[in-house]
């Protein structure tokens, strides 16, 4: 024991001697910050986001910083034209020949100094058109046995169905014109896309350094020629590059510089597998809004666990956090010093659907309480919707996360969009939102009593089976609120927690289902698949001819006012038949280092980074 005392004393004495001599240096001080560290849930897997494997949030966010095109979505879901980069217009508009022309402003350059020209818009047709792919001998995207050589995610959909031939390059090679066989609504979303095609050629030729100006020009011509002449062999070579070469997770000085060429405000400078990607400003950037200049490094850091990410923010390891936070995480974030919390919404919205039939084309028959075949079906659906506790769900489950949350009055248009007010004024949603919930529940009970005379608030008898997606804490809480609330209107709801729920949506066992849709763009026809008879996402067997007619009418080019009129017509039918109601928009919480300015989270991809050029300290 003596030893221990003497040792301690010795340590103390010596510490005085040693450290006093060293003297007290200045305390640590933080340098002016010019770095933004952004949290992402998943790891970075590729610089090419166009394949089914790599079309992931992290990849699209990062490539958004390294490349910019003709337009982008802002935080109000409006499509903003990037006039610095170029312009676009309808150049011909007839019933069978519809053309759009896309022109790049002169002087725009890639980060390697090569000018951006019309040839750079020629890759799109190869990636988007099944007809082109088949004609060029590059495989048939719709045939499992003959897969497309370009492993592109973009085949199928409006562009693919209506595009004609190959886009034509103008004489000055600064614009291309795309031809369609009919007018296309939201045609401005179906542009040609811009990519540095000279680097694809360079990579295909095995180059490991950047091309000279003349080599680049030759490469561009070679690429455009290969596309317009349906040159199968050459295109296959390019396909290999496009499919595989961009899939890198580790980037350093040994990475082929041709992979990193872009026209965005930042360029990838390094990446550590599964950990982070670092970007530095692009000195030659002139394709979009001016950079604020306050940021000289952007780092994307991958953290899968939400709690871990918010603790990392409070420890100063990240500057920008976005996630589906819980109420507690939000109050924890709010309590942090130097952290600003913005409650917002993601593009997802939760909705409750009621079944009317089995899905078209299935052999099942739906004979449940809400069936069209049941004379009381429609009235009971209305009663169910009246009593559905949407406000209670929003106030207890959503508001603690996003205090601005409201119950949406439409499934076509969400609060915050410019036409939201117009739509809900006329779409008949008022029926389910006027008065108090108590009054609506009482009205619902009256309806139920008509068909189930012994029903009462204490004796719920009208049987409803509700599919509850599981495992999911928020959905469990929703179900826990729904069951007693609907019991007050005489409904005996059985909420069934279901794993693998999405594969079981068509099951006629369910009278009601609630889950979320997450649209990635704002289009006129975005919800058609959900409501059309036999639509791919119509899991409740809805089939109403007038509704189909209104939805079909949205499939043509028309003015905003005309679009709103069609939406109102469609929604009036949906509300009158009590098919579907939106419950809430999924909350998304953004929290960031308060010294960072101009962070404006947006609901649509690329949510947080859409205005990276404005960020500054």
């Amino acid at each position: 024991m003596k030893l221990r005392f003497s040792k301690r004393a010795l340590v103390a004495t010596v510490a005085v001697a040693g450290l006093a001599a060293a003297g007290v240096m200045a305390p640590a001080h933080a340098a002016t910050r010019s770095t933004v560290v952004i949290h992402e849930t998943n790891a970075f897997t590729s610089l090419n986001t166009g394949t089914p494997d790599t079309n992931l949030t992290t990849n699209t966010d990062i490539t958004y910083l390294t490349g910019i095109g003709f337009n982008y979505y802002d935080d109000k879901k409006s499509l903003i034209k990037n006039t610095t980069f170029g312009s676009y217009k309808i150049s011909k508009n007839s019933a069978t020949d519809f053309r759009t022309t896309w022109t790049i402003a002169p002087g725009r350059v890639w980060s390697d100094g090569t000018p951006i020209t019309g040839e750079d818009m020629m890759l799109g047709i190869v990636l988007n058109s099944s007809k082109y792919s088949i004609k060029a001998g590059l495989g048939d995207p719709n045939d499992e046995k003959n897969p497309p050589v370009f492993n592109s995610i973009s085949y199928g959909g409006t562009f693919d169905s209506h595009v004609v031939g190959v886009p034509t390059l103008s004489a000055d090679k600064m614009s291309v014109t795309i031809q369609f066989d009919q007018p296309i609504p939201n045609w401005d979303l179906f542009g040609p896309g811009v990519s540095p095609v000279h680097t694809i050629v360079a990579l295909a030729n095995g180059k490991t350094s950047l091309l000279s100006a003349s080599e680049a020009a030759a490469a561009k011509t070679a690429f455009a020629t290969a596309v317009t002449s349906y040159d199968t062999a050459t295109l296959k070579k390019y396909a290999k590059v496009w499919n595989d070469d961009y899939n890198v997770t580790k980037i350093d000085s040994s990475t082929n510089p041709n992979l990193l060429v872009g026209n965005g405000g930042f360029l990838v400078s390094s990446a550590v597998t599964d950990q982070s990607v670092t970007l530095k400003p692009n000195p030659k950037y002139n394709s979009g809004p001016k950079l604020s200049g306050g940021i000289d490094t952007v780092v994307f850091r991958f953290i899968a666990d939400g709690t871990a990410a918010s603790q990392a923010l409070s420890n100063g390891e990240i500057d920008l956090y976005q996630g589906q936070a819980t109420a507690d995480a939000v109050s924890q974030l709010k309590a942090m010093k130097g952290v600003t919390v913005v409650g917002g919404t993601s593009s997802c919205y939760e909705h409750i659907d009621l079944r009317t039939n089995a899905v078209q084309g299935s052999k099942d028959v739906y004979k449940g309480i809400f069936a069209d075949s049941n004379p009381a079906g429609k009235a009971l659906r209305q009663a169910f919707m009246l009593a559905y506790p949407r406000e209670e769900i929003v106030s207890k489950i959503v508001k603690p996360v996003n205090s601005n949350a409201v119950v949406p009055g439409s499934t076509f248009v969400m609060p915050g969009q410019s036409n939201y007010g117009v739509v809900i004024a006329g779409n008949g949603s008022a029926k389910y939102s006027t008065g108090t919930q108590e009054a609506r529940t009482a009205a619902a009970l009256k309806i139920v009593k008509r068909y189930y005379p012994n029903a009462s608030a204490s004796n719920p008898v009208a049987p409803v089976r509700l599919e509850q997606p599981s495992p999911n804490a928020r959905r469990a809480a929703e179900a826990a609120l729904v069951v007693p609330a609907l019991a007050k209107a005489g409904f005996k709801v059985t909420a069934v927690p279901t794993t693998g729920w999405s594969g079981k949506l068509d099951n006629t066992e369910w009278d009601a289902e609630f889950y979320a849709w997450c649209p990635s763009a704002v289009t006129q026809t975005g919800t058609n698949d959900n409501f059309l008879t036999g639509g791919g996402n119509n899991h409740m067997g809805w089939s109403i001819p007038e509704l189909d007619k209104a939805l079909r009418s949205l499939e043509s080019v028309k003015s905003d006012a005309a679009v709103n009129r069609d939406i109102i017509t469609a929604e009036r039918i949906i509300n009158d038949n009590a098919l579907s109601q939106a419950i809430f928009q999924h909350p998304a919480v953004t929290a960031y280092n308060s010294t960072l300015k101009n962070v404006k989270p947006a609901p649509l991809s690329p949510t947080l980074v859409w205005n990276y050029w404005d960020w500054t300290y």
Binding site: L3, R4, K7, R8, A9, L10, A12, V14, A15, V16, A17, G18, L19, A20, A22, V24, M25, A28, H29, R33, T35, V37, A43, T45, P52, D53, T54, N55, P141, N142, E144, P147, N151, I153, S154, Y155, G156, T158, T273, D274, Q275, T278, V299, R301, I303, A304, D305, A308, A309, Q311, N315, G316, E317, G500, S502, G503, C518, S520, D529, N537
Partner: protein
């Protein structure tokens, strides 16, 4: 013996084949890999379904698809092991190649710390069975064993990272904390050493006051932002180490060993500046290895000079002392890197990170900075993992040692008049190590399978994270790769454990009863 091993290996392959077949089929029917796409409103969803079906052979029934997978695995024998592609198109072998070193780095440190601490505490509690210290340690280890790891992680991050980093911006230990720390330290040492009431209170007050004074001193000197040992402290500590190591290794009465160890401390003092110079100007792993070799040679040499008889133990003692001192010197160098590390823009005055394996912003070209960075990122996960596996080792060591201490040969050893130290260190402890070794082997293999939760809460992408990812997204190839590696390791480890057990303990024959 050889035949036995070959037979076991043969059976091992059969087991792996059987369980992988069953698992593959079970996993294939455990969910729908296209689930997310089916409810997607994206226009490209149908396209993606076609692509994924093709890439993952989803139209082939699972029992047949298993053999497609097996073909890739059997490539092992021709040097072309192919685990297939993960859902996101990345080659599974690449993913696994990245994950294994991460898991090993994460787990090795924690396991080593847990084993050392666990065995030490286990021995002390066995020797002081039913003492207050024994009860306290039993309580503490069971308590740690009862804590969910993600819970521990949240608490550790809050207190050891966020709060500690904030403390560093104004590094003065508040008086309240100082009192608490000092009391806890006092209680701990009083418990370990124990004795009659007077002695216990003496120890308690002595240690607590010493500790309080030291903490106060360190905070006045800004030691927490400018740590370091310096040659004088190093020498002082060296003398202490010399006494300690000698006591444990051969007993303090062995004067030759004590002299040798003290000489090592003196040599450390002399070589302080030269070695600092070397570490600063030649920062490579090779330098460290050379210094290690030098220390070993020096230790052995000094031991040999002092030893008249019984050279082995004395050389061992002086070498051990040398190693501890070399470690302290290295620690000193890292401490000197602390302040520059703190002041970098990347660290921004907050050195204890809560996530990740490295700081992406830090310039990794400086050897000492990047070493310190790696170590700092290991701190929290290591503590968390150590806490949960600590209890097992403590209980096991305690139990085994108690069993051994009751054995006849221990009584014989005591009867021969050997000192208690010799009886415990040489006779009892060594026999305790036999079952411990086998347990450790099995543990290690199990742990490669990944600390699923620990990895994900600390943002490390190792085998556990891959496994969780695979299950979450029904990624069959990824899942099977993780399974194949962990299952092979665990079956192999059980075999090794069995062989080791029989090799260490001659009373047990493998394949007995034939």
């Amino acid at each position: 013996m050889f035949a036995y091993i070959m037979r076991r290996l043969g059976v091992l392959f059969v087991i792996l084949f059987g369980s992988s077949f069953i698992l593959y089929n079970l996993a294939a029917i455990s969910g729908d890999p296209l689930e997310g796409l089916r409810t997607s409103s994206e226009p490209s969803a149908k396209q993606q379904i076609i692509t994924l079906t093709r890439e993952l052979d989803l139209n082939v029934p699972p029992p047949v698809r298993y053999f497609l997978w097996l073909r890739g695995i059997l490539g092992l024998f021709v040097g072309k092991l192919d685990f297939g592609n993960a859902r996101n198109g990345q080659a599974v072998s690449t993913l696994v190649q990245h994950a294994i070193p991460v898991t090993i780095r994460l787990v090795t440190m924690a396991t080593v710390v847990a084993i050392i601490l666990g065995i030490t505490v286990g021995i002390v509690t066995a020797l002081r069975q039913y003492s207050r210290f024994d009860y306290a340690m039993t309580f503490v280890s069971f308590l740690m064993y009862s804590l969910p790891v993600f819970w521990v992680a949240v608490l550790l991050k809050q207190y050891l990272a966020i709060r500690f980093n904030t403390f560093l911006s104004n590094p003065n230990v508040p008086i309240g904390w100082n009192i608490v720390f000092s009391c806890v330290t006092g209680i701990f040492w009083a418990g370990v050493i124990s004795g009659n009431r007077k002695r216990v209170s003496q120890i308690f007050f002595g240690v607590a006051l010493g500790n309080a004074a030291l903490l106060q001193l360190l905070s006045t000197l800004n030691w927490f932002t400018h740590p370091g040992l310096g040659p004088v402290v190093l020498f002082g500590a060296g003398i202490g180490v010399a006494y300690g190591v000698t006591q444990i290794s051969v007993g303090i009465n062995n004067k030759a060993a004590l002299r040798a160890s003290q000489t090592m401390a003196l040599l450390a003092l002399i070589s302080y500046y030269p070695s600092q110079y070397l570490l600063k100007h030649s920062p490579h792993v090779s330098t460290l290895l050379l210094m290690l070799l030098f220390t070993l040679l020096l230790g052995a040499g000094v031991g040999r000079i002092f030893a008249k008889i019984d050279r082995g133990p004395i050389m061992r003692t002086s070498t051990l002392t040398g190693l501890v001192l070399a470690f302290l010197m290295l620690l000193d160098k890292l401490m000197q890197t602390w302040f520059p590390y703190l002041s970098t823009d990347a660290v921004n005055g907050r050195p204890v990170p809560t996530i990740g394996q490295m700081n992406a912003l830090l310039d990794q070209s400086d050897f000492w900075m990047s070493t310190l960075d790696t170590l700092m990122h290991l701190v929290l996960p290591t503590i968390a993992l150590t806490l949960i596996s600590f209890a097992g080792y403590v209980r096991f060591t305690r139990g085994t040692l108690l069993d051994v201490l009751n054995a006849d040969y221990i009584r014989t050893a005591r009867a021969k008049g050997l000192t208690e130290r010799t009886v415990i260190m040489r006779h009892a402890f060594r026999n305790t190590l036999i079952p411990l070794t086998t347990i450790i082997v099995v543990d290690f293999a199990g742990i490669i399978g990944g600390a699923i939760i620990t990895e994900s809460v600390f943002g490390w992408v190792g085998m556990g994270t891959l496994f969780r990812q695979a299950i979450g997204s029904f990624d069959l190839n990824l899942l099977m790769a993780v399974f194949f590696i962990t299952a092979s390791l665990s079956v192999l480890a059980n075999l090794i454990a069995d062989l080791l057990y029989s090799a260490l303990d001659p009373r047990i024959r493998v394949g007995a009863g034939k």
